[in-house]
Symmetry: C2
Amino acid sequence: MKHPAKKITFFFAVFVFLSFHAQAQKNKNTSVNQASIFAKGEKITNSNFVGNAWLQPLVVSDSLNPTAVGNVTFEPGARTKWHLHPAGQILLATGGIGYYQEKGSPKRILRKGEVVKCPPNVAHWHGASPDQEFIQIAITSSHKGATVWLEPVTDEEYHAKVKP
Amino acid sequence: MKHPAKKITFFFAVFVFLSFHAQAQKNKNTSVNQASIFAKGEKITNSNFVGNAWLQPLVVSDSLNPTAVGNVTFEPGARTKWHLHPAGQILLATGGIGYYQEKGSPKRILRKGEVVKCPPNVAHWHGASPDQEFIQIAITSSHKGATVWLEPVTDEEYHAKVKP
Protein backbone atom coordinates (compact mmCIF):
# COMPACT_ATOMS: atom_id res chain seq x y z
CA MET A 1 0.00 0.00 0.00
CA LYS A 2 2.81 2.38 -0.87
CA HIS A 3 1.83 3.28 -4.42
CA PRO A 4 -0.01 6.66 -4.30
CA ALA A 5 -2.65 5.60 -6.92
CA LYS A 6 -3.38 2.46 -4.94
CA LYS A 7 -3.77 4.52 -1.80
CA ILE A 8 -6.23 6.85 -3.56
CA THR A 9 -8.28 3.89 -4.86
CA PHE A 10 -8.33 2.37 -1.40
CA PHE A 11 -9.50 5.57 0.27
CA PHE A 12 -12.06 6.03 -2.49
CA ALA A 13 -13.44 2.57 -1.68
CA VAL A 14 -13.65 3.43 2.02
CA PHE A 15 -15.31 6.77 1.24
CA VAL A 16 -17.92 5.14 -1.04
CA PHE A 17 -18.62 2.48 1.60
CA LEU A 18 -19.09 5.04 4.36
CA SER A 19 -21.27 7.30 2.18
CA PHE A 20 -23.67 4.53 1.28
CA HIS A 21 -23.63 3.14 4.78
CA ALA A 22 -24.65 6.57 6.08
CA GLN A 23 -27.43 6.77 3.48
CA ALA A 24 -28.69 3.28 4.37
CA GLN A 25 -28.78 4.26 8.08
CA LYS A 26 -30.63 7.47 7.21
CA ASN A 27 -33.28 5.53 5.26
CA LYS A 28 -33.60 3.09 8.16
CA ASN A 29 -34.10 5.89 10.68
CA THR A 30 -36.73 7.77 8.69
CA SER A 31 -38.91 4.68 8.24
CA VAL A 32 -40.43 5.24 11.70
CA ASN A 33 -41.34 8.80 10.75
CA GLN A 34 -42.84 7.59 7.49
CA ALA A 35 -45.11 5.29 9.49
CA SER A 36 -46.35 8.27 11.48
CA ILE A 37 -48.64 9.83 8.89
CA PHE A 38 -50.17 12.44 11.15
CA ALA A 39 -48.55 15.04 13.40
CA LYS A 40 -47.65 14.05 16.95
CA GLY A 41 -49.52 17.05 18.33
CA GLU A 42 -49.37 18.37 21.86
CA LYS A 43 -48.34 16.56 25.02
CA ILE A 44 -51.37 15.45 27.02
CA THR A 45 -51.29 17.14 30.40
CA ASN A 46 -54.48 15.86 32.04
CA SER A 47 -54.46 13.16 34.71
CA ASN A 48 -56.25 10.54 32.57
CA PHE A 49 -52.93 9.39 31.14
CA VAL A 50 -49.92 7.98 32.97
CA GLY A 51 -46.51 8.59 31.37
CA ASN A 52 -45.98 10.77 28.32
CA ALA A 53 -48.58 10.79 25.56
CA TRP A 54 -49.31 13.20 22.71
CA LEU A 55 -52.58 14.06 20.97
CA GLN A 56 -53.13 15.53 17.52
CA PRO A 57 -56.86 16.14 16.98
CA LEU A 58 -57.69 15.26 13.36
CA VAL A 59 -61.47 15.79 13.36
CA VAL A 60 -63.51 17.63 15.98
CA SER A 61 -67.06 16.37 16.57
CA ASP A 62 -69.99 18.70 15.91
CA SER A 63 -73.77 18.49 16.02
CA LEU A 64 -73.97 17.22 12.42
CA ASN A 65 -71.27 14.55 12.77
CA PRO A 66 -70.48 13.69 16.40
CA THR A 67 -67.42 11.60 15.47
CA ALA A 68 -64.06 12.80 16.80
CA VAL A 69 -60.79 11.46 15.38
CA GLY A 70 -57.42 11.88 17.07
CA ASN A 71 -53.87 10.66 16.55
CA VAL A 72 -52.38 9.52 19.86
CA THR A 73 -48.72 8.68 20.49
CA PHE A 74 -47.76 6.89 23.71
CA GLU A 75 -44.14 6.80 24.87
CA PRO A 76 -42.95 3.37 26.07
CA GLY A 77 -44.76 2.59 29.34
CA ALA A 78 -47.40 5.33 28.91
CA ARG A 79 -51.08 4.36 29.13
CA THR A 80 -54.56 5.66 29.79
CA LYS A 81 -56.50 5.11 32.99
CA TRP A 82 -59.37 2.63 32.76
CA HIS A 83 -62.25 4.42 31.00
CA LEU A 84 -65.38 3.84 28.92
CA HIS A 85 -67.18 5.52 26.03
CA PRO A 86 -71.01 5.60 26.01
CA ALA A 87 -71.00 5.11 22.20
CA GLY A 88 -67.94 2.84 22.02
CA GLN A 89 -64.60 3.50 20.36
CA ILE A 90 -62.55 2.34 17.38
CA LEU A 91 -58.74 2.17 17.54
CA LEU A 92 -56.52 1.82 14.46
CA ALA A 93 -52.95 0.87 15.36
CA THR A 94 -50.61 2.71 12.99
CA GLY A 95 -47.17 2.26 14.54
CA GLY A 96 -45.11 0.70 17.30
CA ILE A 97 -46.36 -1.89 19.77
CA GLY A 98 -49.21 -1.24 22.19
CA TYR A 99 -51.48 -2.91 24.71
CA TYR A 100 -55.29 -3.00 24.90
CA GLN A 101 -57.41 -4.55 27.60
CA GLU A 102 -61.13 -4.75 28.33
CA LYS A 103 -62.25 -5.31 31.94
CA GLY A 104 -62.49 -9.05 32.62
CA SER A 105 -60.37 -10.08 29.60
CA PRO A 106 -56.62 -10.55 29.30
CA LYS A 107 -54.73 -7.69 27.72
CA ARG A 108 -53.74 -8.06 24.06
CA ILE A 109 -50.86 -6.72 22.00
CA LEU A 110 -51.63 -4.21 19.24
CA ARG A 111 -49.34 -3.91 16.24
CA LYS A 112 -49.38 -1.60 13.19
CA GLY A 113 -52.39 -2.45 11.01
CA GLU A 114 -54.52 -3.97 13.78
CA VAL A 115 -57.94 -2.64 14.69
CA VAL A 116 -60.01 -2.66 17.89
CA LYS A 117 -63.76 -2.07 18.11
CA CYS A 118 -64.51 -1.42 21.74
CA PRO A 119 -68.23 -1.78 22.58
CA PRO A 120 -70.16 1.04 24.31
CA ASN A 121 -69.81 1.25 28.10
CA VAL A 122 -67.10 -1.42 28.33
CA ALA A 123 -64.26 -0.31 30.61
CA HIS A 124 -60.87 -0.60 28.90
CA TRP A 125 -57.40 0.92 28.73
CA HIS A 126 -54.72 1.24 26.05
CA GLY A 127 -51.14 2.34 25.86
CA ALA A 128 -47.62 1.56 24.73
CA SER A 129 -45.64 -1.56 25.53
CA PRO A 130 -42.79 -1.10 28.04
CA ASP A 131 -40.06 -0.94 25.39
CA GLN A 132 -41.69 0.57 22.30
CA GLU A 133 -43.89 3.56 21.61
CA PHE A 134 -47.40 3.05 20.24
CA ILE A 135 -49.26 5.20 17.73
CA GLN A 136 -53.01 4.89 17.21
CA ILE A 137 -55.91 6.68 15.56
CA ALA A 138 -58.86 6.85 17.97
CA ILE A 139 -62.37 7.25 16.53
CA THR A 140 -64.93 8.20 19.15
CA SER A 141 -68.52 9.34 18.88
CA SER A 142 -69.78 11.64 21.63
CA HIS A 143 -73.48 11.59 20.73
CA LYS A 144 -74.31 9.41 23.74
CA GLY A 145 -72.17 11.35 26.18
CA ALA A 146 -68.57 12.02 27.15
CA THR A 147 -65.87 9.52 28.08
CA VAL A 148 -66.12 8.28 31.69
CA TRP A 149 -62.69 8.07 33.36
CA LEU A 150 -62.09 5.41 36.00
CA GLU A 151 -59.21 4.19 38.19
CA PRO A 152 -55.53 4.01 37.08
CA VAL A 153 -54.15 0.81 35.54
CA THR A 154 -52.01 -0.85 38.19
CA ASP A 155 -48.46 -1.98 37.42
CA GLU A 156 -49.68 -5.55 37.97
CA GLU A 157 -52.39 -5.12 35.33
CA TYR A 158 -49.98 -3.37 32.96
CA HIS A 159 -47.36 -6.10 33.21
CA ALA A 160 -49.80 -9.05 33.23
CA LYS A 161 -49.49 -11.77 30.63
CA VAL A 162 -50.95 -11.08 27.21
CA LYS A 163 -53.83 -12.91 25.56
CA PRO A 164 -52.37 -15.97 23.83
CA MET B 1 -4.33 -0.27 -13.66
CA LYS B 2 -2.10 -3.19 -14.38
CA HIS B 3 -1.05 -4.09 -10.85
CA PRO B 4 -3.30 -7.00 -9.69
CA ALA B 5 -3.75 -5.58 -6.13
CA LYS B 6 -4.82 -2.23 -7.59
CA LYS B 7 -7.29 -3.99 -9.84
CA ILE B 8 -8.76 -5.87 -6.89
CA THR B 9 -9.12 -2.67 -4.86
CA PHE B 10 -10.78 -0.97 -7.83
CA PHE B 11 -13.28 -3.79 -8.37
CA PHE B 12 -13.90 -3.89 -4.63
CA ALA B 13 -14.80 -0.18 -4.75
CA VAL B 14 -17.18 -0.78 -7.67
CA PHE B 15 -18.75 -3.76 -5.87
CA VAL B 16 -19.28 -1.77 -2.66
CA PHE B 17 -20.78 1.11 -4.62
CA LEU B 18 -23.21 -1.15 -6.48
CA SER B 19 -24.18 -3.06 -3.32
CA PHE B 20 -25.08 0.07 -1.41
CA HIS B 21 -26.73 1.64 -4.41
CA ALA B 22 -28.96 -1.45 -4.69
CA GLN B 23 -29.77 -1.25 -0.96
CA ALA B 24 -30.59 2.45 -1.23
CA GLN B 25 -32.93 1.75 -4.17
CA LYS B 26 -34.56 -1.09 -2.22
CA ASN B 27 -35.22 1.19 0.76
CA LYS B 28 -36.66 3.81 -1.59
CA ASN B 29 -39.03 1.32 -3.22
CA THR B 30 -40.38 -0.13 0.02
CA SER B 31 -41.22 3.27 1.50
CA VAL B 32 -44.55 3.26 -0.37
CA ASN B 33 -45.44 -0.09 1.19
CA GLN B 34 -44.46 1.18 4.61
CA ALA B 35 -46.89 4.07 4.15
CA SER B 36 -49.71 1.62 3.49
CA ILE B 37 -50.42 0.45 7.02
CA PHE B 38 -53.53 -1.59 6.23
CA ALA B 39 -54.10 -4.31 3.66
CA LYS B 40 -55.15 -3.31 0.15
CA GLY B 41 -58.12 -5.69 0.29
CA GLU B 42 -60.31 -6.74 -2.62
CA LYS B 43 -60.84 -5.00 -5.92
CA ILE B 44 -64.12 -3.08 -5.94
CA THR B 45 -66.35 -4.50 -8.65
CA ASN B 46 -69.51 -2.39 -8.28
CA SER B 47 -70.36 0.41 -10.69
CA ASN B 48 -69.98 3.20 -8.11
CA PHE B 49 -66.28 3.45 -8.88
CA VAL B 50 -64.60 4.26 -12.19
CA GLY B 51 -61.13 2.76 -12.76
CA ASN B 52 -59.48 0.30 -10.38
CA ALA B 53 -60.00 0.68 -6.65
CA TRP B 54 -59.53 -1.70 -3.72
CA LEU B 55 -61.34 -1.90 -0.38
CA GLN B 56 -60.17 -3.45 2.87
CA PRO B 57 -62.98 -3.23 5.47
CA LEU B 58 -61.38 -2.44 8.87
CA VAL B 59 -64.49 -2.10 11.02
CA VAL B 60 -68.02 -3.21 10.14
CA SER B 61 -70.87 -1.15 11.58
CA ASP B 62 -73.36 -2.78 13.95
CA SER B 63 -76.38 -1.71 15.97
CA LEU B 64 -74.20 -0.68 18.95
CA ASN B 65 -71.65 1.32 16.95
CA PRO B 66 -72.89 2.23 13.46
CA THR B 67 -69.45 3.50 12.33
CA ALA B 68 -67.80 1.66 9.44
CA VAL B 69 -64.10 2.11 8.66
CA GLY B 70 -62.47 1.04 5.41
CA ASN B 71 -59.09 1.36 3.74
CA VAL B 72 -59.50 2.38 0.09
CA THR B 73 -56.76 2.40 -2.55
CA PHE B 74 -57.41 4.15 -5.87
CA GLU B 75 -55.17 3.49 -8.87
CA PRO B 76 -54.11 6.63 -10.76
CA GLY B 77 -57.22 8.04 -12.49
CA ALA B 78 -59.68 5.95 -10.46
CA ARG B 79 -62.51 7.75 -8.66
CA THR B 80 -65.94 7.34 -7.11
CA LYS B 81 -69.17 8.56 -8.70
CA TRP B 82 -70.73 11.59 -7.07
CA HIS B 83 -72.42 10.40 -3.86
CA LEU B 84 -73.61 11.53 -0.44
CA HIS B 85 -73.80 10.10 3.08
CA PRO B 86 -76.85 10.90 5.27
CA ALA B 87 -74.58 11.10 8.36
CA GLY B 88 -71.53 12.59 6.60
CA GLN B 89 -68.09 11.07 6.12
CA ILE B 90 -64.53 11.51 7.35
CA LEU B 91 -61.55 10.81 5.07
CA LEU B 92 -57.97 10.41 6.32
CA ALA B 93 -55.43 10.58 3.49
CA THR B 94 -52.66 8.09 4.26
CA GLY B 95 -50.70 7.83 1.02
CA GLY B 96 -50.27 9.07 -2.54
CA ILE B 97 -52.05 12.06 -4.06
CA GLY B 98 -55.82 12.26 -4.39
CA TYR B 99 -58.67 14.58 -5.30
CA TYR B 100 -61.76 15.56 -3.31
CA GLN B 101 -64.62 17.73 -4.44
CA GLU B 102 -67.93 18.84 -2.97
CA LYS B 103 -70.72 19.90 -5.34
CA GLY B 104 -70.46 23.64 -6.02
CA SER B 105 -66.84 23.93 -4.82
CA PRO B 106 -63.58 23.51 -6.73
CA LYS B 107 -61.84 20.18 -6.29
CA ARG B 108 -58.92 20.05 -3.88
CA ILE B 109 -55.77 17.94 -3.70
CA LEU B 110 -55.40 15.48 -0.81
CA ARG B 111 -51.96 14.45 0.40
CA LYS B 112 -50.81 12.00 3.09
CA GLY B 113 -51.77 13.36 6.52
CA GLU B 114 -54.66 15.53 5.32
CA VAL B 115 -58.20 15.08 6.60
CA VAL B 116 -61.65 15.81 5.15
CA LYS B 117 -64.87 16.11 7.12
CA CYS B 118 -67.67 15.92 4.60
CA PRO B 119 -71.00 17.18 5.98
CA PRO B 120 -74.16 15.01 5.86
CA ASN B 121 -76.06 14.99 2.55
CA VAL B 122 -73.44 17.00 0.64
CA ALA B 123 -72.71 15.43 -2.77
CA HIS B 124 -69.00 14.81 -3.30
CA TRP B 125 -66.51 12.51 -4.99
CA HIS B 126 -62.94 11.40 -4.27
CA GLY B 127 -60.25 9.49 -6.06
CA ALA B 128 -56.64 9.37 -7.16
CA SER B 129 -54.79 11.99 -9.16
CA PRO B 130 -54.07 11.06 -12.81
CA ASP B 131 -50.43 10.10 -12.15
CA GLN B 132 -50.34 8.77 -8.59
CA GLU B 133 -52.39 6.32 -6.56
CA PHE B 134 -54.28 7.53 -3.51
CA ILE B 135 -54.84 5.70 -0.22
CA GLN B 136 -57.45 6.82 2.30
CA ILE B 137 -59.23 5.64 5.41
CA ALA B 138 -62.97 6.32 5.11
CA ILE B 139 -65.03 6.64 8.31
CA THR B 140 -68.76 6.50 7.66
CA SER B 141 -71.71 6.18 9.99
CA SER B 142 -74.78 4.45 8.61
CA HIS B 143 -77.21 5.28 11.44
CA LYS B 144 -79.06 7.80 9.27
CA GLY B 145 -79.17 5.60 6.19
CA ALA B 146 -77.04 4.19 3.40
CA THR B 147 -74.83 6.07 0.93
CA VAL B 148 -76.78 7.59 -1.99
CA TRP B 149 -74.96 7.13 -5.29
CA LEU B 150 -75.36 9.76 -8.00
CA GLU B 151 -74.01 10.45 -11.52
CA PRO B 152 -70.44 9.69 -12.68
CA VAL B 153 -67.74 12.37 -12.42
CA THR B 154 -67.16 13.69 -15.93
CA ASP B 155 -63.65 13.91 -17.37
CA GLU B 156 -64.11 17.70 -17.41
CA GLU B 157 -64.86 17.70 -13.67
CA TYR B 158 -62.02 15.27 -12.95
CA HIS B 159 -59.46 17.34 -14.84
CA ALA B 160 -60.73 20.76 -13.69
CA LYS B 161 -58.36 23.15 -11.93
CA VAL B 162 -57.77 22.55 -8.24
CA LYS B 163 -58.69 24.90 -5.39
CA PRO B 164 -55.82 27.39 -5.02
